[in-house]
Symmetry: C2
Subunit: 432 residues, 2 copies
């Protein structure tokens, strides 16, 4: 029986994991697909280099066309990273009628719609489960759920580095800079952590998730992004005191046909399932009109978890090939995109202020909120070490982002308000 031939672009940690899993699970794959699976060629920078995995050196090539133009190769697995050049390789492969599996979130966030369109036109499959949340089968879960439901909201902890940092800061009361160094030494943060701590990596994943979940083309530019670099130990201590846990939350929500997609540090009630997602783990909390609330949890990165997702995609592609039904899985976004305006975004807000320690300060501040129709869930006032100052922490009931921003502007103008130290959204309360 003819074997299915795979071309692998990249042999880093994920690529090595894919090689290992395909070798170790050959029997199971055969059982499910009905034919053997072989890796025919692997693209590497330097075929002569010593490798961690035992690999037949004759499979290695540094010329990508050896793979893209090989008529015997049915499926391309892309685990090399990169954006522009990689996109060109994949477009070339698709035009050669090859099916694609990619773990590349940067690529999918920028060129996902284009690649999916091209794949559909060429009756090719394009699967990208590993591009969001490593080992968690979230895209498959969404696609299945979509069959008979309407997704109204997704909240995701989709970046392991920032979740590791926030978990440690929260548990140990340590400062951001110290924990970042620890994360770097443990391999949970890169030497240049910008893409992670700025929220960009999470934003890419939320663009991919939202495009699928809402069936609209959500671009990276549509995602409002705020990272974790400004979070202080004080913010975390107050969160805890008020019964919240701080997480970097990717949020996609829809009211009617209007959507919001954002990434920001937010407070969750400490009993919310997302609040128990610790360290480098990821999770996506999904609200469906019929199914209610579900959550998918697991490792968001790592060689073997990511490789496992890639191989699950491979099985799906190979089954489709045996059935002759490739190219039907990539459903083009069905709905036009309308982003919510700030006046249409409703949330609870946390705000921490330093004020002058004078009579009537709290009354004046709460009056300002009342004038904007905003009431309070929680109020805390404490003296500061700094003489003549005190600290006020407020958690509002639901308000629009517009009203909350207007209130902040006015607070800045008040002579008694020394500084607005921080503001955060509060999410996940009352089943919202």
């Amino acid at each position: 029986m003819k074997a299915m031939s795979i071309g692998l672009l990249g042999l880093g940690t994920v690529g090595s994991g894919v090689v290992k899993i395909i070798e170790q699970h050959q029997d199971k794959l055969m059982h499910q697909i009905g034919c053997p699976v072989t890796i025919k060629k692997i693209l590497v920078n330097d075929p002569a280099k010593e490798r961690q995995v035992a690999i037949d050196k004759s499979l290695l090539t540094s010329n990508v066309d050896d793979i893209l133009d090989d008529p015997e190769i049915d499926v391309i697995i892309e685990v090399m990273g990169g954006i522009e050049e990689t996109k060109d390789h994949l477009l070339h492969a698709i035009r050669n009628k090859k099916h694609i599996i990619t773990a590349n979130k940067d690529l999918m966030a920028l060129y996902g719609s284009q690649l999916l369109k091209e794949a559909t036109a060429n009756e090719c499959d394009l699967f990208y489960e590993a591009s969001v949340a490593g080992g968690i089968p979230i895209l498959r879960g969404l696609a299945d759920g979509l069959a008979s439901d309407r997704i109204t909201k997704m909240m995701g902890i989709v970046n392991g580095t920032t979740n590791f940092i926030l978990t440690k800061m929260s548990q140990d009361g340590s400062a951001y800079e110290d924990v970042l160094k620890e994360a770097q030494s443990l391999g949970f943060a890169e030497a240049d952590p910008t893409a992670d701590v700025s929220g960009l990596d999470a934003a890419r994943k939320m663009a991919i998730l939202s495009t699928l979940g809402f069936s609209m083309t959500i671009d990276l530019d549509d995602v409002t992004v705020q990272g974790i670099t400004e979070i202080s130990e004080e913010d975390l201590a107050y969160s805890k005191k008020l019964g919240y846990t701080m997480k970097l939350i990717g949020l996609s929500s829809r009211d009617g046909e209007k959507v919001e997609v954002s990434v920001q540090p937010a407070l969750l009630p400490e009993h919310h399932p997302l609040a128990s997602v610790h360290n480098e783990y990821n999770a996506v909390y999904v609200y469906g009109e019929a199914v209610g609330e579900t959550m998918f949890y697991g490792p968001g990165a790592g060689s073997l978890p990511t490789a496992t997702s890639v191989v699950s995609d491979l099985v799906a592609v190979l089954k489709n090939m045996r059935l002759g039904v490739n190219g039907r899985s990539a459903v083009a976004p069905q709905y036009p995109k309308t982003m919510k305006q700030p006046s249409e975004i409703h949330a609870k807000f946390f705000i921490r202020l330093h004020v002058k320690d004078e009579v009537g300060v709290l009354a004046k501040i709460t009056m300002l909120f009342a004038e904007h129709g905003v009431s309070f869930d929680k109020i805390l006032q404490l003296p500061l070490n700094e003489k003549g100052s005190s600290e006020i922490v407020l958690v509002t009931h639901h308000a629009t982002l517009t009203e909350f921003e207007k209130i902040q502007q006015k607070l800045n103008d008040y002579e008694m308000v020394k500084e607005i130290k921080s503001t955060y959204r509060v999410e996940g309360e009352n089943g919202k």
Copy 2:
């Protein structure tokens, strides 16, 4: 284009939900499957009865053969419940080459293997996602994961009634009997709650999950079961004090080819993701050799969540029909079953004792554990109101069930030990 015709057995809350979803999502279903879907006949006890759902009365029948023998019906959805008679109906339908979707855990736990075998022989699909954990796509998740991984352990909160009761007992410090009454008045527990509180319902689901996850025929008789009726407020208070949360845990684990499947109240570290599964929610925590730890969370019951799972199964069956590949999904268990002996079961244990308040009691007790090679993680001794008595709570490090049972026998013989009040397993620590 010819429509796919469905026969529905049962029109209770889940059946009505299925009717509603198929009507409301006709466009989406058409988009995915490529043809319309219609419900042709519905089995009910009394076709004349008034119903909550608007339904064409000409579809209703009280004669099951009108459905089972209708050559135009392609798929049977069974949401009527019952075991022996229902099994006979489904076998009859399978022999008439009809595909089956069932939400019936009682049936699948007892006759799943037989039904799957018959379905495979007749090239029919038999899907049963809704039989375990209502709206959570756990069976699909396991089946996907299995493609390229090996599952070593599953821990499940798979019964909503008992989780609701334990959550309330834990939060409010209330007694079991009081919370049970509250659960009954809220509709989270049935008038006769025996199947839930005895652990039987959870055991049925763990038998179904383990059969799929380990690819072995695990019968209900293979599952060791202990319910929640003996849990006291004191046990919950001590759990909390020691940093644990008590849950009714379904546990399937495998070392080499030997497995344990059990249901019992167990203590989890309060930061474990399963510890945040509150009220009537369900979750299954899965350990895979490659993927690591993943969790699937969602509503374990309810009309619409369960109906959503049923319709997801329906989409899978209908896609298979269009592709002409039915009957390949039910993979017969591949491995022989070997259950672990008590000497092969390793766990940490919690034990609470009432002892005479004498010099050297704790020393004598800890010595006994040491003689059996068992050391301690946590020790707590407190005076009791009862004069001359004190209470000792111990949490061991890992020990075999055999050694722990031997120790309990000896403790019972000690004159200074008044009573062993309770023992529980401690699970979910250190990534185990």
